[in-house]
Amino acid sequence: MGARTLVDKIWDAHVVWRRDGEPDLLYVDLHLVHEVTSPQAFEGLRLHGRRVRRPDLTFATVDHNVPTWSRSLPVTDPVSKTQIDALERNCRESGIRLEGLLSQRQGIVHIIGPELGLTLPGLLVVCGDSHTATHGALGALAFGIGTTEVEHVLATQILPQRRPKTMEIRVEGALPLGTTPKDLILGIIRRIGVGGGIGHIVEYTGSTIRGLSMDGRLTVCNMTIEGGARAGLISPDETTFAYIEGRPFAPRGEEWERALAYWRTLPTDAGAAYDRRVELDASTLEPFVTWGTNPSQSEPVTGRVPDPASHADPQARAALERALAYMALRPGTPIQEIAIDRVFIGSCTNSRLEDLRAAARVVAGRKVSPKVRAMVVPGSQQVKMAAEREGLDRIFVGAGFEWREAGCSMCLGMNPDILGPGERSASTSNRNFEGRQGPGGRTHLVSPPMAAAAAIAGHFVDIREWRV
């Protein structure tokens, strides 16, 4: 066999059955389940008299719709409560492990998979959620699936898939001061567009990627889907192995040695070919702020809201005009003059310990603007406890932030944490679609330090001028 990519190696190792003209049948090593996209899948199993084939490879938590107020308070929304109860019942009946609302291991599914040592290099991971791409940061092939596919995996542990094309996104150079992995991925999406990765699996390579911590890599891979690709991976290396070792479900002893020996064979071979390549110079990155209604519509914080009139193509102009009308922004407005009402630090993109530390460094010794309501929602109860051990909660609360329990929260507006109509947020989440954070809400995506600084100032500011 010739030189192969990381994706080739993982794909080939998971083919259970293959025939020309049909999709490959791939074996799923880890199936992550949450309350929103699973109830109809379990119902489908019941209707057909089928059972969960491998409860021991299936792992569930509640994250999307759960309230982030104190866990001693009840879930007051009866529809959410029904969905949470349905997951509990389905897991109990099928023998699936569930980290429920009161578990110290509960959290956003894409935070806790890596955190618990369940996500490992070389695994094939699926979940009924598009941000499953996150797990690619550990060198796992991980992608989001729909509910019918969730049912398929529950019943068979198999996912039939056509092999997508591969795309290398190579980033070289040091991240400039004041920029973060979030700015890196926003820069990549700005470059390739929201549909640029359709039909591809991305591998991120280059010195910038190699230099990222695991938390940073998770942020980058997380937003792969925002560029249209279902999966984004990074070849495992010493950073990966050091992150995994000792985590609750990670292999130990001889198994660890066996795993490590295999993982070292996974990185893409020299000379392996990709179907498409994109290169990016990290020195061109700046702290970005999205101004529109998709994640490719961003500008450096020192920039201005673009002018639709500068587009010759009438469709592009119309799309831009619509985005600006929804966002209530005038062309030419300096980004730093955009005032905000809410700040959300959280989501599977940016709610890990390093994200919270970076935001806390900005917040320390300052106060949230009286015009702003700001909240921090740790990605998991484990992240929350670790942050509290370091005193980060006291920094945030002292500055006027709300300090919440773990969940997806205001990223997607399925729980009580939503924007009101017309409210404008600086958010560390991943999507600025119309109504994403609540009907009529207006979302600007930024990094955790940029969100923290916006909370203090009441408008966007160039974090590079704050010397933190």
Binding site: W17, G21, Y27, D29, L30, V36, T37, P39, Q40, E43, D56, L57, F59, H64, D77, V79, S80, A86, I96, R97, L120, L123, S130, T132, G144, I145, G146, T147, T148, E149, A155, T156, Q157, I158, P160, P164, V194, G195, I198, G199, E226, G228, A229, R247, P248, R252, W256, R258, N294, Q315, L412, G413, M414, R431, F433, E434, G435, R436, P439, G440
Partner: protein, 206 residues
């Protein structure tokens, strides 16, 4: 899944690119545990005003397009969240075919799973269809999956690509899970050979 063979219907032109699944089915409707009931909330924020009354400006509320069953729209349709609710909502509303220059990968998979046909045509041709449907009432097309053609009432015919296996499943309305279960022997053999270091979600971890 209901088999898909041919479909003739009026085009609803929804002229915008990058329509995301939050726009198709907003998150507040994803708390339900049933698979039905989403047709009424399709494109909710565009289709209804803040007070819940229909927005007369939105394409689905215009009398000429009320009976439309073929949605023609811009590139990268269905991007964002993996929610299959988006495909359910489109189908339950009454759409049988979506035509666009391109589709988000997960959305296209989800649509195929439930027998909702996605047809990718060149951007210039989609543009013509959008303009035609906007200019004349009742602009119809016939979509023939077996022959992979889209033919309009004026006799204009396009051919489209479709994955051979997807076509086979759609034409016959096959249950994909049932197809996979025929490979029980191969699955069991694969399972027996899996590496021992791979995680199993049992016990408390260490």
């Amino acid at each position: 899944m209901t088999p898909f063979k041919t479909h003739t219907g009026v085009i609803v032109p929804f002229d915008r690119p990058d329509v995301d699944t939050d726009t198709i089915t907003p998150a507040q409707f994803l708390k339900r545990i049933a698979r039905t009931g989403y047709g009424d909330v399709l494109f909710y924020s565009l289709r209804y005003g803040p007070d819940g009354t229909p927005n007369p400006e939105f394409i689905l509320n215009k009398p000429a397009y009320r009976d439309g069953t073929v949605l023609v729209t811009g590139r990268n349709f269905g991007c964002g969240s993996s929610r299959e609710h988006a495909a359910w909502a489109l189908q339950e509303y009454g759409f049988s075919v979506i035509i666009a220059p391109s589709f988000a990968d997960i959305f296209a998979n989800n649509a195929a799973q439930i027998g909702l046909l996605t047809v990718a045509l060149p951007e210039a041709r989609v543009r013509q269809m959008l303009d035609m449907a906007a200019a004349r009432e009742g602009y119809q097309v016939t979509v023939d999956l077996e022959n992979q053609t889209v033919t309009d009432a004026l006799g204009h015919r396009d051919t489209f690509e479709v994955d051979v296996f997807k076509k086979y499943c759609l034409l016959n309305g096959l249950d994909a899970i049932g197809l996979t279960l025929r490979h029980e022997t191969e699955i069991a053999r694969f399972e027996a050979a899996r590496a021992s270091w791979m995680p199993r979600v049992i016990g408390e971890g260490q």
